[in-house]
Symmetry: C2
């Protein structure tokens, strides 16, 4: 029984073969279709749960399970560690067969998480942002901002990218990090946060603001049609968007069960929360009026998005023969005998012969 | 950042090198110490959760997280599929660094689960069963029964092993499966279930009885000192031990939070449930009277046991240089740049040079 392993370098290899833009375009289309087709009876997604801690450094590790009934189960384990020298959001995807419990695939989830979070914002922005949007604002210029800009830039034609980060190094290195995919002639301009918010058509917030320290901007001055993708609110108490702006906006959660606990929706009463992204997906024309009004996509991170990006990458991995196949779960001839394969591994007489096995019996002598 | 992979054959190889008996002895000692030292503030163990289904075949996949604060988090994903051609209980262990979220180790959990479930019964039996116990009864002769007998046999000197299974093939092949570790002169005797229960000193139930179909024996006739290790009750509604016997016994759960939902303790009122195994561990002499009275160890499967067996096997893997080290999570030079390593993987010009990368830009042309 083989497990397919996709390491970070396998995934980078695949992205290189597929092409970054083509991959992002595929992912955006798949995700839009998945939102349309999502049926909670066929695909079960419980709210994520996890361990949150303040010592020795603040952080959390969460698990995000999803089951496609009668097929497979995804278990994503994701860490959020803003003080780590590694990527703040680091994750691993495990895919399991629901007929046996065996692990079908294991993949580094860090790049895929960044890709799918970008793609989700692109899908939401396509439905809720003004089609003529020419200016995007980014508050928080870390890893997630790169894929936000890349993904949303596949749907809109931006003339200007306005950036803000309280970390000067993140702000300074951002243009270089997005150069590989940015259209010729698009300006990346570091901008004071109030001006940024007042000017942009689409805003993405992707910060590590601490619990209780948000929101990350004022929001009293905005375009009438501002669309916000709020990415960073993902733990109880952490928010990025001011309540006053939420109240003046159409708020669409990715996954309401989770958004009410961890997202911007924490700040709202149930009656002030709009329909979820999958409802908009099923009939975008019913929500087209919001393209010219204020809207917020409350993106807490939906396991369905993880499932879609993993499925896509596994398909490409098979196509390009990338990845490692490994026999992790062993299956002997007799599933009732947990010690059966021991004799094989040690190349000793099979247990059934009745002879004691030197290696195994050693401790008895 | 390397992840240590331990496949089933790596683990079998290790067991062969260590010796089955020595390994089981080590595990029993470590587990007993872990029960003594268990501090829920330092080691957080939420009750497991999972997906349960009846179609296309009855089964479940559950996740069992554990966090050792400031060190690591274990995520065990375990399947229970009684109609699967693979082992009924099949699992995978993932170990993660709580400072970064990175995966430290991935291991096949099937053998380790069988080992630790056996070791837990051995520990409980040492504290709660009659020291002179000479007869063990096994109801259910599948994979778990093998390690139950092996482990408990390391603590007691059995003259007779009484077996019962509704599956004739499992019953017939059992003596062969336990021959490698059974002491010379120990008889394995298939026995009608009522006689088995009436005669044995220690009883292990390890069945796949269906939800609502238990208990698996009558229990009106037993030794006054019978100690039961009930292994199979691990989903809501599944029980193996008759309520009448539970009521006449001292009932010790492995993990009360879980046992009340999934174990034999489902059948009891809170006031009828005895102290958990860790409380007995801290002062076994306070419970020594129960060695001559009826007792039941309600073993639903405690993630602490998984952590201990994994820790032990990882230590031995380092000692014997067994296993595979693999770079699954990739870390570039700039954690803020999810696309950074793409250029490296494809051996193209680094993004920072400003040159577009042929492979990556392909879809644009």
């Amino acid at each position: 029984m083989k497990t397919t392993l996709l390491s970070h370098s396998d995934l980078a290899d695949l992205v290189g073969r597929i092409g970054l833009d083509r991959l992002m375009d595929e992912l955006i289309e798949r995700l839009a279709s998945a939102f349309v087709d999502y049926d909670p009876r066929a695909t079960e997604v419980p709210a994520r749960d996890g361990f949150h801690y303040q010592e020795p450094e603040p952080g959390l590790i969460e698990w995000m399970p999803l089951m496609k009934r009668g097929e497979m189960m995804l278990m994503k384990v994701v860490g959020y560690h803003p003080h780590s020298p590694l990527p703040t959001i680091l994750s691993t995807f495990g895919l399991f067969d629901t007929a046996t419990g065996a692990m079908i695939a294991l993949a580094d989830g860090t790049l895929m998480t960044a890709l799918r979070t970008g793609a989700a914002s692109a899908v939401a922005s396509r439905w809720l942002a003004r089609p003529e949007s020419r200016t995007i604002g980014l508050i928080g210029c870390g890893a997630q901002a790169v894929t936000q800009l890349h993904a949303i830039g596949r749907v809109f034609d931006f003339a200007e990218v306005l950036t803000h980060d309280i970390d000067a190094a993140a702000l300074a290195s951002f243009p270089e990090r997005v150069a590989p995919f940015l259209s010729e002639g698009t300006d990346v301009v570091a901008t004071p946060v109030d001006d940024l918010v007042a000017t942009c058509d689409i805003l993405c917030t992707a910060t590590s603001v601490e619990v209780g320290a948000g929101p990350v901007f004022d929001g009293s001055r905005t375009r009438d049609w501002l669309h916000v993708n709020s990415i960073g609110a993902d733990v109880p108490g952490k928010v990025e968007v001011p309540l006053s702006l939420l109240r003046r906006s159409f708020v669409c959660p990715d996954f309401p069960l989770q958004a009410r606990v961890e997202g911007e929706c924490q700040q709202l009463l149930p009656e002030d929360i709009g329909p979820e992204i999958c409802e908009i997906a099923r009939c975008p024309s019913a929500f087209v009026e919001w393209q010219s009004k204020r809207s917020v996509f409350d993106s807490t991170g939906f396991a369905l998005e993880d499932y879609i990006v993993l499925e896509l990458m596994l398909e490409h991995a098979r196509e390009y023969s990338v990845g490692t196949e490994m026999e992790i779960s062993g299956v002997g001839e007799d599933p009732r005998d947990p010690y059966e394969s021991l004799s094989k591994a040690t190349n000793k007489t099979h247990f059934a012969s009745g002879d004691p096995i030197a290696g195994v019996r050693l401790s008895r002598e």
